[in-house]
């Protein structure tokens, strides 16, 4: 983008930057190794003169001095600081959560440990039926483990999906032998000789488990920002340009809370698309081309052979309309909030997903009545919207 200054990338994980999505899918299945996960080859960073300080932890942001302090006591000055500290897994605060074979999944190190722990196991308990829990359940059942998913809420993926989508995926998992326990918590993890043997449920039942995956969500890594006096509200607070109250500090991705044109209030999104697009937005601003961040949120989740794609923010929709038949295995659910089209979930129907992304980006109006018409067709609406542009 033409930024002329020196760039230093600091990360507390060992090794070069890598992408996380395959960690809960292809990597666990042995289809991708660590090298295939890398985002850029080492030679790329050298050619671009980007200094990569991996395995390096920042302990403080000293805003007055405009430098960061590292764990070895040294400092690195900045003209501009971009916080992309992401999130960390929420801990399940129950006895036994530190037994061997009680694992969580976020980093490559986590995934390597999980992959090794799965070898030779015949069953697993997954605590949490969000995206990570569901993707892991699909992998585990695919590898022949008997998986039981324990979820505190009433259904799967409740936070971010519609009941229609949740129930469809639940049925697909059940057909592959996965057991679901809803409205159930885990009050303890039992073990023998320091190794997990099962979980204790909130209703008192015991479920045997040779492996326990804790997938109960994440918390944003806001501590550095907070200690430096920056506002924090679920994430590091930024404005529509992804800038904090400090003109020399931006925040992006999973750790950043910002206003959005796509939903009321402040949002913190956990997705690759949000991380990548917010990064590009800040890079453009630093290279002299500022613009408010307005990108349409989108997301995908692969569970077994099924691909779920979500365009827009649909979790709090007030009306929903189906396109196609769930029984066919290819269908979408359009989402409206108080009569306004806000997005869609698509299952094995990428053309619908991409059409909805285009409609949202163009701000095309669509009412529930229009969408319910017998001759309604998304592709036609996209063409009309393009013609009108």
């Amino acid at each position: 983008m033409g930024y002329g200054g020196a760039v230093t990338l600091i990360g507390d994980e060992p090794g070069l930057p890598y992408q996380r999505p395959p960690l809960s899918k292809a990597y666990l299945l042995g289809k991708m190794d660590a090298t295939a996960l890398s985002l850029r080859a080492e030679s790329f960073f050298e050619r671009q003169a980007i200094a990569v300080r991996h395995g390096c932890r920042v302990t403080d942001i000293e805003r007055d001095a405009r430098h960061v302090r590292l764990s070895d006591g040294s400092t690195l000055p900045y003209e501009h600081l971009v916080l992309a500290t992401g999130t960390r897994n929420r801990v399940l605060p129950v006895p036994g959560n530190d037994l061997a074979d009680v694992l969580s999944l976020r980093s490559l190190a986590d995934a390597a440990a999980l992959k090794a722990a799965m070898t030779g196991k015949s069953d697993a308990v997954v605590i949490g039926a969000g995206f990570i829990g569901m993707e892991f359940a699909a992998v585990a059942s695919g590898l022949g483990l008997a998986a039981t998913v324990v979820e505190a809420g009433p259904r799967v993926m409740a936070r971010a999906t519609s009941p229609q989508i949740g129930h469809w995926f639940e049925a697909r998992h059940r057909a592959r032998g996965v057991t679901f326990l809803f409205d159930t918590g885990v009050t303890g993890i039992e073990g023998r000789d320091g190794v997990a043997t099962g979980v204790i449920l909130s209703d008192g039942r015991h479920v045997p488990a040779e492996l326990v995956l804790v997938a109960v969500g994440v918390v944003a890594n806001v501590e550095l920002a907070q200690a430096a006096g920056l506002a924090v509200d679920n994430g590091i607070v930024v404005d529509e340009h992804l800038l904090t109250a400090d003109p020399h500090i931006s925040a992006i991705g999973d750790c950043a809370t910002s206003p959005s044109v796509h939903a009321p209030g402040l949002l913190r999104l956990e997705s690759v698309q949000n991380a990548v697009d917010q990064a590009k937005s800040v890079a453009a601003r630093l290279a002299g081309r500022p613009a408010p961040y307005i990108n349409v949120p989108w997301f995908w989740s692969d569970q077994g052979p099924d691909k779920l794609q979500i365009a827009g923010l649909v979790g709090d929709a007030t009306e929903r309309l189906p396109i196609g038949a769930p029984d066919s295995g290819r269908f979408s659910v359009l989402a409206f909030r108080d009569g306004r089209f806000v997005g869609a979930e698509s299952v094995n129907r990428p053309t619908d997903h991409m059409a909805v992304r285009r409609l949202l980006a163009a701000g095309t109006r669509l009412s529930p009545d229009q969408a319910a018409a017998a001759d309604f067709d998304l592709a036609t609406l996209v063409s009309a919207s393009r013609a009108a542009a």
């Binding site: 999505p21 690759v272 698309q273 995908w300 991409m354």
Partner: protein, 107 residues
């Protein structure tokens, strides 16, 4: 290690030595070859790694799956008979010398 050559719209080319099994997409993005965005990192979920495969190679590629077929309907640049998603093409010795052209746009 098999080679893959990327031809840009302006005619510039880059030849990358790909790791065995690496996707044509990853070989490009990993080495900073322009013209391939790969927003989803190779999960067949974004249609921004679209390439036009050189005619001589088209029939030697592994066949297209349903996911790729669906996503190819959604590319920003015109879909042509030789359009493929580069995240779905894995490099091996049989594809040594593969040539692909990057489109004018990915978004």
């Amino acid at each position: 290690m098999p080679n893959v050559t990327y031809v840009q719209p302006n005619g510039e080319t880059q030849t990358i030595n790909a790791a065995f099994g690496a996707s044509v997409m990853h070989a490009a993005t990993s080495n900073g070859v322009p013209g391939i965005e790969a927003e989803c990192g190779g999960a067949c979920s974004c249609a921004t790694c679209h390439v036009y495969v050189d005619e001589a190679w088209l029939d030697r590629l592994p066949p297209m799956g349903e996911d790729e077929e669906g996503m190819l309907e959604c590319t920003a640049a015109e879909r042509r008979p030789n359009s493929r998603l580069s995240c779905q093409i894995s490099m091996d010795d049989e594809l040594d010398g593969l040539v692909v052209r990057t489109p004018e746009t990915q978004s």
